[in-house]
Protein backbone atom coordinates (compact mmCIF):
# COMPACT_ATOMS: atom_id res chain seq x y z
CA UNK A 1 0.00 0.00 0.00
CA UNK A 2 2.75 2.47 0.97
CA UNK A 3 4.63 1.82 -2.24
CA UNK A 4 1.44 2.23 -4.28
CA UNK A 5 0.57 5.42 -2.39
CA UNK A 6 4.01 6.87 -3.05
CA UNK A 7 3.73 6.08 -6.74
CA UNK A 8 0.21 7.36 -7.40
CA UNK A 9 0.41 10.53 -5.33
CA UNK A 10 0.44 13.50 -7.74
CA UNK A 11 3.62 14.94 -6.22
CA UNK A 12 4.09 17.99 -8.48
CA UNK A 13 0.50 19.07 -7.92
CA UNK A 14 0.73 18.38 -4.18
CA UNK A 15 3.92 20.40 -3.92
CA UNK A 16 2.35 23.29 -5.82
CA UNK A 17 -0.79 23.05 -3.67
CA UNK A 18 1.11 22.88 -0.37
CA UNK A 19 3.31 25.77 -1.48
CA UNK A 20 0.28 27.82 -2.50
CA UNK A 21 -1.46 27.18 0.83
CA UNK A 22 1.69 28.08 2.79
CA UNK A 23 2.25 31.28 0.79
CA UNK A 24 -1.40 32.34 1.05
CA UNK A 25 -1.48 31.83 4.83
CA UNK A 26 1.87 33.61 5.19
CA UNK A 27 0.46 36.58 3.25
CA UNK A 28 -2.60 36.56 5.52
CA UNK A 29 -0.30 36.62 8.54
CA UNK A 30 1.79 39.41 7.01
CA UNK A 31 -1.12 41.83 7.25
CA UNK A 32 -4.45 40.27 8.10
CA UNK A 33 -6.49 43.47 7.80
CA UNK A 34 -5.57 43.68 4.11
CA UNK A 35 -4.95 40.10 3.06
CA UNK A 36 -7.96 38.41 4.68
CA UNK A 37 -9.56 37.21 1.41
CA UNK A 38 -6.58 34.94 0.87
CA UNK A 39 -7.55 32.89 3.92
CA UNK A 40 -10.78 31.76 2.25
CA UNK A 41 -8.92 31.31 -1.02
CA UNK A 42 -6.49 28.96 0.73
CA UNK A 43 -9.43 26.89 1.98
CA UNK A 44 -10.58 26.52 -1.63
CA UNK A 45 -7.10 25.45 -2.71
CA UNK A 46 -7.06 22.79 0.02
CA UNK A 47 -10.36 21.39 -1.25
CA UNK A 48 -9.32 21.54 -4.90
CA UNK A 49 -5.96 19.82 -4.47
CA UNK A 50 -7.52 17.12 -2.30
CA UNK A 51 -10.12 16.41 -4.96
CA UNK A 52 -7.61 16.30 -7.80
CA UNK A 53 -5.45 13.84 -5.88
CA UNK A 54 -8.26 11.28 -6.25
CA UNK A 55 -8.45 11.43 -10.04
CA UNK A 56 -7.69 8.16 -11.80
CA UNK A 57 -6.95 8.96 -15.42
CA UNK A 58 -6.78 5.27 -16.37
CA UNK A 59 -9.89 4.30 -14.42
CA UNK A 60 -11.26 2.20 -17.26
CA UNK A 61 -8.16 0.02 -16.99
CA UNK A 62 -7.55 -0.11 -13.25
CA UNK A 63 -11.22 -0.70 -12.47
CA UNK A 64 -10.79 -4.16 -14.00
CA UNK A 65 -7.83 -5.06 -11.77
CA UNK A 66 -8.16 -7.01 -8.52
CA UNK A 67 -7.40 -4.05 -6.27
CA UNK A 68 -10.77 -2.55 -5.29
CA UNK A 69 -11.63 1.12 -5.42
CA UNK A 70 -11.50 1.64 -1.67
CA UNK A 71 -7.92 0.29 -1.57
CA UNK A 72 -6.82 2.55 -4.38
CA UNK A 73 -8.66 5.51 -2.83
CA UNK A 74 -6.90 5.02 0.51
CA UNK A 75 -3.63 4.80 -1.36
CA UNK A 76 -4.32 8.03 -3.21
CA UNK A 77 -5.18 10.02 -0.08
CA UNK A 78 -2.50 8.48 2.13
CA UNK A 79 0.01 11.24 1.48
CA UNK A 80 -2.19 13.94 0.02
CA UNK A 81 -4.66 14.56 2.84
CA UNK A 82 -2.27 14.35 5.82
CA UNK A 83 0.28 16.40 3.92
CA UNK A 84 -2.15 19.18 3.05
CA UNK A 85 -3.65 19.27 6.55
CA UNK A 86 -0.23 19.32 8.22
CA UNK A 87 0.81 22.26 6.02
CA UNK A 88 -2.49 24.01 6.75
CA UNK A 89 -2.24 23.61 10.54
CA UNK A 90 1.47 24.42 10.69
CA UNK A 91 1.00 27.55 8.57
CA UNK A 92 -1.88 28.72 10.77
CA UNK A 93 0.04 28.02 13.98
CA UNK A 94 3.01 29.96 12.62
CA UNK A 95 0.89 33.09 12.10
CA UNK A 96 -1.52 32.59 15.02
CA UNK A 97 -0.44 35.80 16.78
CA UNK A 98 -1.21 37.89 13.70
CA UNK A 99 -4.67 36.56 12.84
CA UNK A 100 -7.93 36.72 14.82
CA UNK A 101 -7.89 34.48 17.92
CA UNK A 102 -10.02 31.76 16.34
CA UNK A 103 -7.39 29.22 15.39
CA UNK A 104 -9.85 26.38 15.98
CA UNK A 105 -12.28 27.73 13.39
CA UNK A 106 -9.55 28.21 10.79
CA UNK A 107 -8.34 24.63 11.32
CA UNK A 108 -11.94 23.43 11.13
CA UNK A 109 -12.44 25.25 7.81
CA UNK A 110 -9.53 23.32 6.31
CA UNK A 111 -10.75 19.98 7.68
CA UNK A 112 -14.29 20.63 6.46
CA UNK A 113 -13.06 21.63 3.01
CA UNK A 114 -11.02 18.43 2.78
CA UNK A 115 -14.00 16.40 4.03
CA UNK A 116 -16.28 17.95 1.42
CA UNK A 117 -13.77 17.39 -1.38
CA UNK A 118 -13.17 13.77 -0.37
CA UNK A 119 -16.88 13.04 -0.05
CA UNK A 120 -17.86 14.48 -3.40
CA UNK A 121 -14.98 12.96 -5.36
CA UNK A 122 -15.20 9.53 -3.72
CA UNK A 123 -18.93 9.40 -4.43
CA UNK A 124 -18.43 10.51 -8.04
CA UNK A 125 -15.54 8.11 -8.48
CA UNK A 126 -17.65 5.27 -7.09
CA UNK A 127 -20.34 6.20 -9.60
CA UNK A 128 -17.89 5.58 -12.40
CA UNK A 129 -16.48 9.05 -13.14
CA UNK A 130 -12.76 8.67 -13.80
CA UNK A 131 -11.61 12.20 -13.01
CA UNK A 132 -14.13 13.93 -10.76
CA UNK A 133 -11.47 15.96 -8.97
CA UNK A 134 -10.51 18.34 -11.77
CA UNK A 135 -14.03 19.75 -12.31
CA UNK A 136 -14.55 19.92 -8.55
CA UNK A 137 -11.32 21.89 -8.17
CA UNK A 138 -12.21 24.13 -11.10
CA UNK A 139 -15.45 24.95 -9.26
CA UNK A 140 -14.33 25.01 -5.62
CA UNK A 141 -11.16 27.10 -5.91
CA UNK A 142 -12.57 30.13 -7.76
CA UNK A 143 -15.87 30.00 -5.87
CA UNK A 144 -14.03 30.03 -2.54
CA UNK A 145 -11.93 32.95 -3.78
CA UNK A 146 -15.01 34.82 -4.99
CA UNK A 147 -16.90 34.22 -1.73
CA UNK A 148 -13.87 35.33 0.29
CA UNK A 149 -13.58 38.50 -1.80
CA UNK A 150 -17.23 39.46 -2.11
CA UNK A 151 -18.39 38.12 1.30
CA UNK A 152 -22.09 37.76 0.51
CA UNK A 153 -24.28 38.60 3.53
CA UNK A 154 -21.65 38.10 6.26
CA UNK A 155 -24.28 38.81 8.91
CA UNK A 156 -26.25 35.61 8.39
CA UNK A 157 -23.91 33.59 6.19
CA UNK A 158 -20.46 34.01 7.83
CA UNK A 159 -18.47 31.61 5.67
CA UNK A 160 -15.18 33.44 6.18
CA UNK A 161 -15.61 35.84 9.13
CA UNK A 162 -12.96 38.53 9.42
CA UNK A 163 -13.82 41.23 11.95
CA UNK A 164 -14.32 40.79 15.73
CA UNK A 165 -17.96 41.88 15.56
CA UNK A 166 -18.95 39.09 13.17
CA UNK A 167 -20.74 35.90 14.14
CA UNK A 168 -17.82 33.52 14.66
CA UNK A 169 -19.83 30.91 16.57
CA UNK A 170 -22.32 30.68 13.71
CA UNK A 171 -19.40 30.09 11.35
CA UNK A 172 -18.16 27.25 13.58
CA UNK A 173 -21.59 25.61 13.36
CA UNK A 174 -21.69 26.10 9.60
CA UNK A 175 -18.32 24.47 9.01
CA UNK A 176 -19.07 21.66 11.48
CA UNK A 177 -22.22 20.89 9.51
CA UNK A 178 -20.21 20.82 6.27
CA UNK A 179 -17.54 18.56 7.78
CA UNK A 180 -20.03 16.03 9.14
CA UNK A 181 -22.84 16.21 6.60
CA UNK A 182 -20.74 16.09 3.45
CA UNK A 183 -19.64 12.44 3.80
CA UNK A 184 -23.10 11.38 4.94
CA UNK A 185 -24.92 13.01 2.05
CA UNK A 186 -22.39 12.13 -0.63
CA UNK A 187 -21.93 8.51 0.35
CA UNK A 188 -25.52 7.75 1.36
CA UNK A 189 -26.47 6.37 -2.09
CA UNK A 190 -23.58 3.92 -1.94
CA UNK A 191 -24.55 2.65 1.48
CA UNK A 192 -28.21 2.42 0.48
CA UNK A 193 -27.24 0.35 -2.54
CA UNK A 194 -25.26 -2.00 -0.34
CA UNK A 195 -28.15 -2.35 2.10
CA UNK A 196 -30.37 -3.43 -0.78
CA UNK A 197 -28.13 -6.44 -1.15
CA UNK A 198 -25.65 -7.87 -3.64
CA UNK A 199 -26.17 -8.07 -7.35
CA UNK A 200 -26.95 -4.43 -7.80
CA UNK A 201 -23.72 -2.82 -8.80
CA UNK A 202 -23.25 0.89 -8.47
CA UNK A 203 -21.32 2.29 -11.38
CA UNK A 204 -18.94 0.24 -13.52
CA UNK A 205 -17.24 -2.98 -12.50
CA UNK A 206 -15.00 -2.54 -9.50
CA UNK A 207 -16.44 0.84 -8.68
CA UNK A 208 -18.52 -0.23 -5.68
CA UNK A 209 -17.44 0.67 -2.20
CA UNK A 210 -16.60 -2.69 -0.60
CA UNK A 211 -17.46 -3.59 2.95
Amino acid sequence: MIRYAARVAPWPMLLVGCGAVAVLVALVGFRFTVMWPLQGTAVGVLAGITAMALDERCAALVDTLPRPLWWRTVGRVLFAVPGLLVIWVCALVAVRDRIPPHLGLFVLQGCAAVSLALSVTVARRAAGVAEPGAPFAAFAIPVAAAVALARPRPDWFPVFPVWPTENWSCSVVLWLVVAVAAPLVALAPQWMARLRGPGRPVGPAGARLPG
Binding site: G48, M52, P135, A138, I141, V143, A146, L149, A150
Partner: protein, 294 residues
Protein backbone atom coordinates in the same frame (compact mmCIF):
# COMPACT_ATOMS: atom_id res chain seq x y z
CA UNK B 1 -19.86 23.15 -29.10
CA UNK B 2 -17.13 22.95 -31.66
CA UNK B 3 -17.77 19.28 -32.48
CA UNK B 4 -21.19 20.00 -33.86
CA UNK B 5 -21.33 19.52 -37.61
CA UNK B 6 -21.98 22.84 -39.23
CA UNK B 7 -24.12 22.83 -42.37
CA UNK B 8 -22.08 23.49 -45.46
CA UNK B 9 -23.69 25.40 -48.28
CA UNK B 10 -23.95 23.50 -51.54
CA UNK B 11 -21.66 24.57 -54.32
CA UNK B 12 -18.99 26.27 -52.27
CA UNK B 13 -17.40 26.86 -48.91
CA UNK B 14 -19.31 28.43 -46.09
CA UNK B 15 -18.54 32.07 -45.54
CA UNK B 16 -16.18 32.45 -42.58
CA UNK B 17 -18.41 34.99 -40.90
CA UNK B 18 -21.41 32.68 -41.02
CA UNK B 19 -19.48 29.87 -39.33
CA UNK B 20 -18.12 32.28 -36.74
CA UNK B 21 -21.55 33.57 -35.78
CA UNK B 22 -23.09 30.10 -35.64
CA UNK B 23 -20.22 28.86 -33.53
CA UNK B 24 -20.44 31.96 -31.34
CA UNK B 25 -24.11 31.19 -30.71
CA UNK B 26 -23.22 27.67 -29.64
CA UNK B 27 -20.42 28.88 -27.40
CA UNK B 28 -22.74 31.45 -25.81
CA UNK B 29 -25.19 28.66 -25.01
CA UNK B 30 -22.38 26.52 -23.56
CA UNK B 31 -21.17 29.43 -21.47
CA UNK B 32 -24.69 30.23 -20.30
CA UNK B 33 -25.05 26.66 -19.00
CA UNK B 34 -21.69 26.61 -17.23
CA UNK B 35 -22.15 26.28 -13.44
CA UNK B 36 -19.53 28.92 -12.70
CA UNK B 37 -21.32 31.48 -14.88
CA UNK B 38 -24.68 30.66 -13.30
CA UNK B 39 -23.24 31.01 -9.79
CA UNK B 40 -21.50 34.25 -10.76
CA UNK B 41 -24.50 35.80 -12.48
CA UNK B 42 -26.87 34.95 -9.64
CA UNK B 43 -24.36 36.17 -7.09
CA UNK B 44 -23.80 39.46 -8.94
CA UNK B 45 -27.48 40.20 -9.35
CA UNK B 46 -28.34 39.05 -5.82
CA UNK B 47 -25.68 40.76 -3.73
CA UNK B 48 -24.11 43.43 -5.92
CA UNK B 49 -27.09 45.69 -6.47
CA UNK B 50 -27.70 47.38 -3.10
CA UNK B 51 -26.12 50.65 -1.91
CA UNK B 52 -24.31 50.89 1.41
CA UNK B 53 -24.24 53.91 3.76
CA UNK B 54 -20.52 54.72 3.25
CA UNK B 55 -19.99 54.46 -0.49
CA UNK B 56 -23.43 54.13 -2.08
CA UNK B 57 -22.65 51.46 -4.72
CA UNK B 58 -18.95 52.15 -5.34
CA UNK B 59 -17.75 49.24 -3.20
CA UNK B 60 -20.06 46.84 -5.04
CA UNK B 61 -17.45 46.69 -7.81
CA UNK B 62 -15.78 43.73 -6.12
CA UNK B 63 -18.89 41.59 -6.62
CA UNK B 64 -18.96 41.40 -10.47
CA UNK B 65 -15.15 41.40 -10.54
CA UNK B 66 -15.06 38.30 -8.32
CA UNK B 67 -18.26 36.55 -9.37
CA UNK B 68 -18.10 37.12 -13.13
CA UNK B 69 -14.43 38.01 -13.62
CA UNK B 70 -12.58 35.42 -11.54
CA UNK B 71 -15.19 32.69 -12.06
CA UNK B 72 -15.42 33.66 -15.74
CA UNK B 73 -11.68 33.21 -16.14
CA UNK B 74 -11.89 29.60 -14.97
CA UNK B 75 -15.12 28.89 -16.84
CA UNK B 76 -13.79 30.21 -20.14
CA UNK B 77 -10.44 28.43 -19.71
CA UNK B 78 -12.41 25.23 -19.17
CA UNK B 79 -14.50 25.76 -22.32
CA UNK B 80 -11.40 26.63 -24.36
CA UNK B 81 -9.54 23.58 -23.07
CA UNK B 82 -12.56 21.43 -23.89
CA UNK B 83 -12.65 22.74 -27.46
CA UNK B 84 -8.92 22.13 -27.79
CA UNK B 85 -9.18 18.53 -26.51
CA UNK B 86 -12.10 17.88 -28.81
CA UNK B 87 -10.21 19.20 -31.79
CA UNK B 88 -7.21 17.02 -31.01
CA UNK B 89 -9.41 13.96 -30.43
CA UNK B 90 -11.13 14.51 -33.76
CA UNK B 91 -7.77 14.67 -35.52
CA UNK B 92 -8.87 17.56 -37.68
CA UNK B 93 -11.14 20.22 -36.26
CA UNK B 94 -14.13 21.08 -38.47
CA UNK B 95 -13.33 24.79 -38.18
CA UNK B 96 -9.97 26.56 -37.89
CA UNK B 97 -8.69 27.34 -34.41
CA UNK B 98 -8.88 31.09 -35.02
CA UNK B 99 -12.61 30.82 -35.73
CA UNK B 100 -13.07 28.82 -32.50
CA UNK B 101 -11.11 31.46 -30.62
CA UNK B 102 -13.18 34.22 -32.19
CA UNK B 103 -16.38 32.44 -31.21
CA UNK B 104 -15.15 32.03 -27.63
CA UNK B 105 -14.23 35.72 -27.52
CA UNK B 106 -17.73 36.61 -28.70
CA UNK B 107 -19.16 34.32 -26.00
CA UNK B 108 -17.33 36.48 -23.44
CA UNK B 109 -19.88 39.18 -24.30
CA UNK B 110 -22.46 37.20 -22.31
CA UNK B 111 -20.89 37.85 -18.86
CA UNK B 112 -20.10 41.38 -20.08
CA UNK B 113 -23.81 41.89 -20.77
CA UNK B 114 -24.58 40.89 -17.17
CA UNK B 115 -21.80 43.26 -16.10
CA UNK B 116 -23.42 46.07 -18.10
CA UNK B 117 -26.76 45.43 -16.40
CA UNK B 118 -24.93 45.60 -13.07
CA UNK B 119 -23.21 48.84 -14.16
CA UNK B 120 -26.40 50.52 -15.34
CA UNK B 121 -28.27 49.82 -12.11
CA UNK B 122 -25.35 50.69 -9.82
CA UNK B 123 -24.61 53.92 -11.72
CA UNK B 124 -28.27 54.89 -11.36
CA UNK B 125 -28.20 54.15 -7.62
CA UNK B 126 -24.89 55.96 -7.15
CA UNK B 127 -26.42 59.19 -8.45
CA UNK B 128 -29.87 58.62 -6.99
CA UNK B 129 -28.55 57.88 -3.49
CA UNK B 130 -25.13 59.51 -3.36
CA UNK B 131 -22.69 58.74 -0.56
CA UNK B 132 -22.46 61.15 2.43
CA UNK B 133 -19.75 63.87 2.47
CA UNK B 134 -17.71 61.68 4.84
CA UNK B 135 -18.05 58.69 2.49
CA UNK B 136 -16.48 57.59 -0.78
CA UNK B 137 -16.01 59.32 -3.16
CA UNK B 138 -15.84 62.81 -1.66
CA UNK B 139 -14.96 66.32 -2.80
CA UNK B 140 -15.35 67.55 -6.34
CA UNK B 141 -14.57 64.40 -8.32
CA UNK B 142 -16.21 64.55 -11.73
CA UNK B 143 -19.09 62.45 -13.02
CA UNK B 144 -16.69 60.89 -15.51
CA UNK B 145 -14.37 59.87 -12.65
CA UNK B 146 -17.25 58.17 -10.82
CA UNK B 147 -18.57 56.39 -13.90
CA UNK B 148 -15.06 55.27 -14.87
CA UNK B 149 -14.52 53.72 -11.42
CA UNK B 150 -17.79 51.80 -11.63
CA UNK B 151 -17.25 50.75 -15.24
CA UNK B 152 -13.56 49.85 -15.04
CA UNK B 153 -13.56 48.01 -11.72
CA UNK B 154 -16.98 46.41 -12.15
CA UNK B 155 -18.21 45.98 -15.72
CA UNK B 156 -14.90 45.61 -17.56
CA UNK B 157 -13.74 42.92 -15.13
CA UNK B 158 -16.60 40.77 -16.37
CA UNK B 159 -15.16 40.94 -19.88
CA UNK B 160 -11.46 40.82 -19.04
CA UNK B 161 -11.66 37.73 -16.82
CA UNK B 162 -13.23 35.47 -19.48
CA UNK B 163 -10.90 36.84 -22.20
CA UNK B 164 -7.91 36.02 -19.98
CA UNK B 165 -9.45 32.57 -19.57
CA UNK B 166 -9.30 32.06 -23.35
CA UNK B 167 -5.60 32.99 -23.35
CA UNK B 168 -4.90 30.52 -20.52
CA UNK B 169 -6.98 27.81 -22.19
CA UNK B 170 -5.14 28.28 -25.49
CA UNK B 171 -1.55 28.61 -24.24
CA UNK B 172 -1.62 26.47 -21.10
CA UNK B 173 -4.38 23.89 -21.51
CA UNK B 174 -3.49 21.76 -18.51
CA UNK B 175 -5.92 20.82 -15.78
CA UNK B 176 -5.62 22.82 -12.61
CA UNK B 177 -3.73 25.67 -14.24
CA UNK B 178 -6.64 28.10 -14.58
CA UNK B 179 -7.82 27.82 -10.93
CA UNK B 180 -4.28 28.24 -9.64
CA UNK B 181 -3.68 31.25 -11.91
CA UNK B 182 -6.98 32.69 -10.65
CA UNK B 183 -5.64 32.33 -7.10
CA UNK B 184 -2.40 34.05 -8.13
CA UNK B 185 -4.39 36.85 -9.76
CA UNK B 186 -6.47 37.33 -6.60
CA UNK B 187 -3.32 37.47 -4.45
CA UNK B 188 -1.61 39.93 -6.79
CA UNK B 189 -4.72 42.09 -6.97
CA UNK B 190 -5.03 42.28 -3.19
CA UNK B 191 -1.40 43.33 -2.87
CA UNK B 192 -1.81 45.96 -5.60
CA UNK B 193 -5.25 47.31 -4.60
CA UNK B 194 -3.75 50.45 -3.12
CA UNK B 195 -3.62 49.64 0.57
CA UNK B 196 0.17 49.50 0.59
CA UNK B 197 1.30 53.09 0.24
CA UNK B 198 4.58 52.43 -1.63
CA UNK B 199 2.67 50.54 -4.35
CA UNK B 200 -0.08 53.12 -4.84
CA UNK B 201 1.60 54.85 -7.79
CA UNK B 202 2.35 51.68 -9.73
CA UNK B 203 -0.85 49.80 -8.92
CA UNK B 204 -2.62 50.95 -12.07
CA UNK B 205 -1.01 48.35 -14.31
CA UNK B 206 -3.21 45.75 -12.59
CA UNK B 207 -6.55 44.79 -14.18
CA UNK B 208 -8.34 45.53 -10.89
CA UNK B 209 -7.53 48.11 -8.27
CA UNK B 210 -9.26 50.58 -6.00
CA UNK B 211 -9.36 54.35 -6.35
CA UNK B 212 -10.09 54.93 -2.69
CA UNK B 213 -12.14 53.79 0.26
CA UNK B 214 -12.20 53.67 4.06
CA UNK B 215 -8.58 52.64 4.30
CA UNK B 216 -7.82 54.95 7.19
CA UNK B 217 -5.10 57.11 8.62
CA UNK B 218 -3.08 56.60 11.79
CA UNK B 219 -5.50 58.76 13.77
CA UNK B 220 -8.69 57.40 12.21
CA UNK B 221 -8.53 53.83 10.87
CA UNK B 222 -11.85 54.22 9.04
CA UNK B 223 -11.09 57.57 7.35
CA UNK B 224 -11.93 57.63 3.65
CA UNK B 225 -9.08 58.21 1.18
CA UNK B 226 -8.89 58.94 -2.55
CA UNK B 227 -5.96 57.31 -4.32
CA UNK B 228 -3.88 58.95 -7.08
CA UNK B 229 -4.39 58.22 -10.76
CA UNK B 230 -6.96 58.73 -13.48
CA UNK B 231 -9.70 56.07 -13.71
CA UNK B 232 -10.73 57.38 -17.15
CA UNK B 233 -7.32 56.58 -18.69
CA UNK B 234 -7.26 53.35 -16.69
CA UNK B 235 -10.49 52.27 -18.41
CA UNK B 236 -8.75 52.90 -21.75
CA UNK B 237 -5.85 50.76 -20.56
CA UNK B 238 -8.26 47.93 -19.63
CA UNK B 239 -9.89 48.08 -23.06
CA UNK B 240 -6.43 47.71 -24.63
CA UNK B 241 -5.71 44.73 -22.35
CA UNK B 242 -8.96 43.07 -23.49
CA UNK B 243 -7.95 43.57 -27.12
CA UNK B 244 -4.46 42.23 -26.40
CA UNK B 245 -6.01 39.15 -24.78
CA UNK B 246 -7.96 38.39 -27.98
CA UNK B 247 -4.81 38.92 -30.09
CA UNK B 248 -2.77 36.66 -27.77
CA UNK B 249 -5.40 33.93 -27.99
CA UNK B 250 -5.58 34.21 -31.80
CA UNK B 251 -1.77 34.18 -32.03
CA UNK B 252 -1.79 30.57 -30.79
CA UNK B 253 -3.08 29.51 -34.21
CA UNK B 254 -0.05 29.55 -36.53
CA UNK B 255 -2.24 30.08 -39.58
CA UNK B 256 -3.68 33.24 -38.04
CA UNK B 257 -0.29 34.92 -37.55
CA UNK B 258 -0.42 37.36 -40.42
CA UNK B 259 0.75 40.93 -40.69
CA UNK B 260 -2.63 42.37 -39.77
CA UNK B 261 -2.77 40.49 -36.45
CA UNK B 262 0.84 41.45 -35.69
CA UNK B 263 0.13 45.10 -36.41
CA UNK B 264 -3.02 45.03 -34.32
CA UNK B 265 -1.09 43.49 -31.43
CA UNK B 266 1.69 46.06 -31.65
CA UNK B 267 -0.74 48.98 -31.84
CA UNK B 268 -2.71 47.66 -28.87
CA UNK B 269 0.48 47.07 -26.85
CA UNK B 270 1.67 50.62 -27.57
CA UNK B 271 -1.75 52.00 -26.66
CA UNK B 272 -1.78 49.93 -23.44
CA UNK B 273 1.60 51.33 -22.38
CA UNK B 274 0.53 54.89 -23.22
CA UNK B 275 -2.84 54.70 -21.44
CA UNK B 276 -1.29 53.03 -18.38
CA UNK B 277 1.30 55.81 -18.14
CA UNK B 278 -1.41 58.44 -18.59
CA UNK B 279 -3.53 56.75 -15.91
CA UNK B 280 -0.57 56.88 -13.53
CA UNK B 281 0.65 60.40 -14.34
CA UNK B 282 -2.67 62.25 -14.72
CA UNK B 283 -5.69 62.65 -12.48
CA UNK B 284 -5.20 63.01 -8.75
CA UNK B 285 -1.47 63.32 -8.06
CA UNK B 286 -1.45 62.35 -4.37
CA UNK B 287 -3.54 60.50 -1.81
CA UNK B 288 -6.37 62.71 -0.62
CA UNK B 289 -7.71 62.32 2.93
CA UNK B 290 -11.36 63.12 3.56
CA UNK B 291 -11.44 66.12 5.93
CA UNK B 292 -14.57 64.68 7.58
CA UNK B 293 -14.14 61.81 9.99
CA UNK B 294 -15.95 58.57 9.20
Amino acid sequence: MTAVALPVAKGGPVAGGSVLWRLAGLEVRRYARHPLFLVGAVGTLAIGMRPDPVSSTYFNVIVPAAALGILGLVAMASLTRGADLLGRSAGAAPVPERVQTGALALAALLPFAVGLVWFAWNAYLAFDRPPPPSGFPFGDVSTGWKLAVLFGCGALSTLGGPLLGIVIGRWWPRRGVAPMLAVALVAATIIMQGLFEPLRRVRLFMPFTYFGGPFGTEADPERVLLFPGSPQWWVGYLVCLCGLAVVAALWHDRSARDGRLRTTGLVLAAAAVATCLLATLTGLDHTLVNPLSS
